[in-house]
Symmetry: C2
Subunit: 416 residues, 2 copies
Amino acid sequence: MPFSDLAKKAKLASLKIAELDTEVKNRALNKIADAFEVNKHEIFEANKQDLAEAEMLVENGEITKSTFNRLKLDENKMRDMIQGVRDIANLEDPVGKVLFKRELDEGLVLTKVSCPIGVLGIIFEARPDVISQIASLAIKSSNAVILKGGKESKNTNKKILEVINGALAQVEGFPNDVVQQVFSRDDVAQMLTCDEYINLIIPRGGNNLVKFIKENTKIPVLGHANGICHIFVDESADIDIASRVVTDAKTQYPSACNAVETLLIHKNFKKSDELLTSLQLSEIKLVSNPESWDIEYSDKILSYKFVDSVEEAINHINTYGSGHTDSIITTDGSNAEKFMNNVDSAGVYFNVSTRFADGFRYGFGAEVGISTNKTHARGPVGLEGLTIYKYKLVGNGQIVDDYAKGVKQFHHKDLI
Amino acid sequence: MPFSDLAKKAKLASLKIAELDTEVKNRALNKIADAFEVNKHEIFEANKQDLAEAEMLVENGEITKSTFNRLKLDENKMRDMIQGVRDIANLEDPVGKVLFKRELDEGLVLTKVSCPIGVLGIIFEARPDVISQIASLAIKSSNAVILKGGKESKNTNKKILEVINGALAQVEGFPNDVVQQVFSRDDVAQMLTCDEYINLIIPRGGNNLVKFIKENTKIPVLGHANGICHIFVDESADIDIASRVVTDAKTQYPSACNAVETLLIHKNFKKSDELLTSLQLSEIKLVSNPESWDIEYSDKILSYKFVDSVEEAINHINTYGSGHTDSIITTDGSNAEKFMNNVDSAGVYFNVSTRFADGFRYGFGAEVGISTNKTHARGPVGLEGLTIYKYKLVGNGQIVDDYAKGVKQFHHKDLI
């Protein structure tokens, strides 16, 4: 099917799913979870095909062992995948929320109500469990979705989508074409230019994928290319907190986007030697070199630099950071305030690890991704980030001319 | 100055204005209003130079008489311009609002707080009063701004900016370079590609300007190209309401983006002849022709079409509309519900004129523009549309590893 036909079908599906009740959407999600349980062995079989091909790619050095591991679906991952779908069914519906209700004049009531965005384009790499997660988030938020997975997981992706759409077909009132999939590079190229039908692109994968997408589309992209997170250890920092927090931020999961990459230390911090030694004892390799200020290591490597003041730390972060998450370790409340107000990042932290930047840890119940955008959604994004709003205005024949001529006046009274 | 240097200065200014108190920003705004009062004759003089040149352009047919009129600043427009600045000073500060406050665990508190977007790029046509309005909105929302006006109003724009920056220079603590201006086409081209420093583009002008900008930048654009608004007169409509509302929506200000362009009439509406006759009596020219379904007349011309059902009306609007504002006239509440839920537009109205789509009428106190985007801001946009948010997380040494290992648990307790 030509991509434009598929996109048109997604657009039509998005208009239909927009009007579904919460109950139908939740029924659909639970049906998907049930279908995964029933058909998991078929999914494992498809996954084995992909793994067999991937094994050769690992041997030829075309993909890494860690890509291979991400590709592999086992009982544990399947259980998490199924639970993930059920968890999304249990979340509050982000659509149809009344954001405000205002009487503009007697008998003229304006309601701002949340609604879906429309059609999402999702481009992801070799993690087949992403399909299930994204399809579920799209359904819960009443958006249609077009998925493009990595070629390494083609068989698994096909089978998972077959199971999802088989389940959805059994749900009364659930429209067709809400979840569709494409496979070729040409389809990706068309997706990125299809701003007539696609309202939001969400890349799920490494920096290069995200950068490529951001550079090649005018459609809004939700995500982040880099995660250059900083921790600034101030003059008055508590050494125990500094050592514990930096170690956690670097070693708890070094390849996470919210892992710390650069440590800034106030030149008058008396225990800097002790701090650096403790980090080395945690097997962190330390680097101090201006060329490293914008490197995301995704490994147990940490750049560090001494700075003269909290202002220099803020300036360094606003210059070299990626606007993701940055933390100050201090006992000086006014420096902490200054840091949190002036660092221009999605997350600004005080005496805690940067690794807390996460939709689940924030209590959103789901995570669409982490955004470093300055519009729409910033930081960890929950279901709300897949919605926008519309204004409903209800009256009984009101016209603007009466207000323009002063026959009537607005009184703008908030009802909710 | 090369554009990139100017943009870099704007970025630095945006970080400084982000930390200003409401009181300093309001003082700056009132200082600008005062300065307009003191220097209005100088501004009129500069405007006369532009008008003299524009007169020749009108004679040569290079600009229209209505462009000439928009260019002209008189005492009335100056008074409105000054009052507009003072009104913005009196609005609530959109920055620093606590959007939620949540205890993730004991002693670990997450606050979501509104903050400025950063640097705005504003491209506008021959209406010099836009500078004052946009500069004021930017200051109130703590954003830096780079303005590019029409070449026809070059002298007026220069003088107005000189007055604004003269006023700002007298405000203690107010940073430099918050409001800057560029003049050449080359500057516009550079602005549109400068996504490193510019966070949001706002075009203020005709469809062609907005379309050009949307097609030539990856930076988010806040605005709308078309305003193809519809009114659907249902089978059960009240003829008086239908006639009054359609007349208002077409004639009260025909060149407004929220004026109606297409009238859809249910084929069983018994008083359609009476309705069409009443519209013609209001000097509305009626057109019925499939080629007119996507025309924005900006004049007293109205396309009309008979439809079989509310579903056909919804489908027509979702196919040919621009997602701006559409209204149903009916006495059937369930059709009204269906229409408002299924029409995919920023404004969905029931028995009222489409002309109500406006930030002032909605009670926002100011209008940045009207957006047909599906992300960030939709419909009439107030000051809130110039903000985003950041997450502040405050703790006392918490690390993620404790939660990953189950030593500690999140309890996610909302404090506000």
